[in-house]
């Protein structure tokens, strides 16, 4: 319990830090948010500018502005997006599940495929299959995600017609009734298997593209952690017990390599979100990445702060959960 409390405290501290960073960053940038909000025309009129600044609390000292921001935040108010004119919370409520669906698909693909490849490579060290898997991993971390997205889209949609086009659903379908915001899940909940299948078909290509980089990272690090464990006596002892090789690999080998692999998954999560920005842009996915891009390029401050906050919270939460799993998996941490 003490372990959980400490982890939780650190995470909360980091969270407060994130609010400060998003706030400071958006206030220190040289771009003038007033012009961005009102347009050049209105911004030329000092009266309008004055009124806008007062209304937004922009005439207050920075510290006061921060606490105003924090107060609104605690009420679930992230302000109104300058670009979409919607409350930022509402925009994020639609964009976030889209990205979550994509990211979950990608991370599952990357972890499952990556671990299998890493185990095979480690067990067949320096043989042909190992060399091949290592080559795949280097290619994975070297190929530009955005280019891969374009190339995959061109090949599989434009030339081969294997996959549906961009977006999350074909135009003939309406979005399923919103429960979780994940189209595949919502469609199943509403009893529309054809919509779920269509949403899943749309997910496959961008999700796989996004998985490539993470997969490359994972294979690279998991292979070397597994090799370390492979040299441990306990793997040899498990084999001396005559256990099935599946049991040896899963219960003894992978469990031994689990901690470093978990750490990598947590770190890789950040790179996954970065990749999502680029992938969403190509596939017109309408998620956090595309929203962030629109907000950043139009200096839409409330939206940027919202995105920064959401993304920071997600990253911190993911790593908090990983810390907890760490403690759960490793008896030495659990007891100590």
């Amino acid at each position: 319990m003490r372990y959980v409390a400490i982890r939780l405290g650190l995470s909360l501290l980091l969270l407060v830090g994130v609010t400060i960073v998003t706030f400071v960053l958006t206030n220190l940038v040289p771009g003038d948010p007033v012009i961005a909000a009102l347009g050049q025309r209105a911004a030329d009129d000092p009266k309008i500018v004055e009124a806008y600044r007062a209304a937004q609390g922009l005439d207050q000292p920075l510290v006061v502005q921060y606490f105003l921001y924090l107060g609104h935040l605690l009420q679930g108010n992230l302000g109104t997006s300058i670009g979409t004119r919607n409350p930022v919370v509402q925009d994020l409520g639609y964009a976030f599940p889209a990205t979550a669906e994509l990211a979950v698909f990608a991370i599952v693909v990357a972890v499952v495929v990556g671990l299998v490849l890493a185990v095979v490579a480690a067990l067949r060290r320096n043989r042909f299959s190992d060399q091949l898997i290592r080559a795949i991993s280097v290619v994975g971390i070297s190929v530009p995600t955005f280019w891969l997205a374009v190339a995959a889209y061109f090949l599989f949609f434009f030339v081969l017609h294997w996959t549906p086009g961009s977006g999350r659903l074909s135009p003939i379908y309406d979005a399923p009734p919103r429960v979780t915001g994940l189209f595949t899940v919502d469609a199943l909940l509403a009893g529309q298997p054809d919509v779920a299948a269509d949403a899943f078909a749309h997910l496959v290509l961008p999700g796989s593209v996004l998985a490539v980089y993470t997969l490359g990272l994972l294979v690279r690090f998991a292979r070397s952690s597994i090799l370390d464990v492979l040299n441990q006596d306990y793997v040899r002892a498990a084999r001396a017990k005559g256990l099935s090789s599946g049991r040896v690999v899963v219960a003894y080998l992978l469990r031994g390599a689990l901690l470093p692999i978990l750490t990598i998954v947590g770190l890789a999560f950040g790179s996954l979100l970065s990749g999502a920005v680029l992938t969403e842009q190509v596939f017109a996915w309408g998620g956090i990445g595309q929203y962030a891009f629109r907000a950043a390029t139009s200096l839409d401050l409330p939206s940027i702060m919202g995105v920064g906050l959401v993304v920071g919270v997600v990253y911190i939460t993911v790593n908090f959960v990983i810390d907890l799993v760490y403690g759960f998996v490793d008896p030495r941490v659990r007891v100590g």
Partner: protein, 270 residues
């Protein structure tokens, strides 16, 4: 003969001949010591019997196994699946450092029962009952509680007793013990050795005790084989090898022995 009969066992790894025709008998109810300095191939002999030699190594020769019910003329000819059914079931192994040979993230209960359930087809409950009995047999205090604990919560000596319990769990005929006391405190070494000797006598185990320590050897072994450069250079009764070594090399080894016997082993039992 009941036990193991190793004849002309050779092992080649990366163009080097690690074992160069090892001949040794490991009869039931006896402790057969395998002595030699590091690099002489004694550990590799133990691993080669179980088929756990490093990847890429090539074995030749014969290892005959016989326990009265099951007879295998040569272990080297077995398919991997058949060999795996023998491992842990008929031929078990205890490793040097128990803190390294037990998985730190699995409970003692899991590591003590998973091969029993596979080899003996026991239910989870039956396996746990037997596991508790085994821990009692090797004198680990409060066996029920110990099953729920993890390796880091035990001392080295206790852990080696757990490792021995794991090895004898499926009633094997042959036990290969690779330097089982080297990583332990001197004060607990004697206890572990006495346990090994006792199990040999009570269960009729054929024990191959691999060690560089002739002191350990003189305390428990019935016969001693001395290895050098991948060959057995001398093989005889403990008394003969230690008191009247025939080869110069064995004599050198014996002379390097400390004058005092290990504590607690007295004049050597059996």
């Amino acid at each position: 003969m009941s036990g193991l009969e190793i004849r002309g066992l050779a092992l080649e790894l990366g163009g080097r001949r690690i074992l160069d025709g090892v001949d040794v008998d490991v009869p039931a109810g006896q402790v057969t010591g395998l002595a030699g300095e590091s690099g002489s191939g004694k550990t590799m002999t133990g691993l080669a019997v179980l088929g756990l030699q490093p990847a890429g190594a090539r074995r030749s020769g014969t290892i005959a196994y016989d326990d009265g019910k099951v007879r295998v003329p040569n272990l080297l000819d077995l398919r991997p699946g058949a060999m795996n059914r023998l491992r842990g079931r008929r031929i078990a192994m205890v490793f040097q450092d128990p803190t390294a040979s037990l998985q730190p993230m699995l409970s003692i209960g899991t590591q003590l029962t998973d091969h029993m359930r596979r080899h003996l087809g026991l239910s989870r409950a039956a396996a746990r009952t037997r596991a508790a009995e085994l821990l009692e047999r090797v004198r680990v205090p409060s066996p029920e509680a110990a099953l729920r604990r993890y390796p880091h919560q035990f001392s080295g000596g206790q852990l080696q007793r757990v490792a021995i319990a794991i090895a004898i769990a499926c009633d094997p005929e042959v036990l290969i013990a690779d330097e089982p006391t080297t990583a332990l405190d001197v004060t607990v070494q004697a206890g572990v050795l006495r346990l090994l000797r006792e199990l040999t006598d009570d269960l009729g185990l054929a024990v191959l005790l691999v060690t560089h320590d002739l002191g350990v050897m003189s305390a428990v072994a019935d016969t001693v084989a001395v290895m050098r450069d991948g060959r057995v250079v001398e093989h005889g009764s403990r008394y003969q090898v230690i008191r009247e070594p025939r080869t110069a090399y064995a004599r050198e080894l014996v002379e390097s022995l400390p004058r005092t016997p290990p504590p607690g082993t007295g004049e050597g039992s059996a």
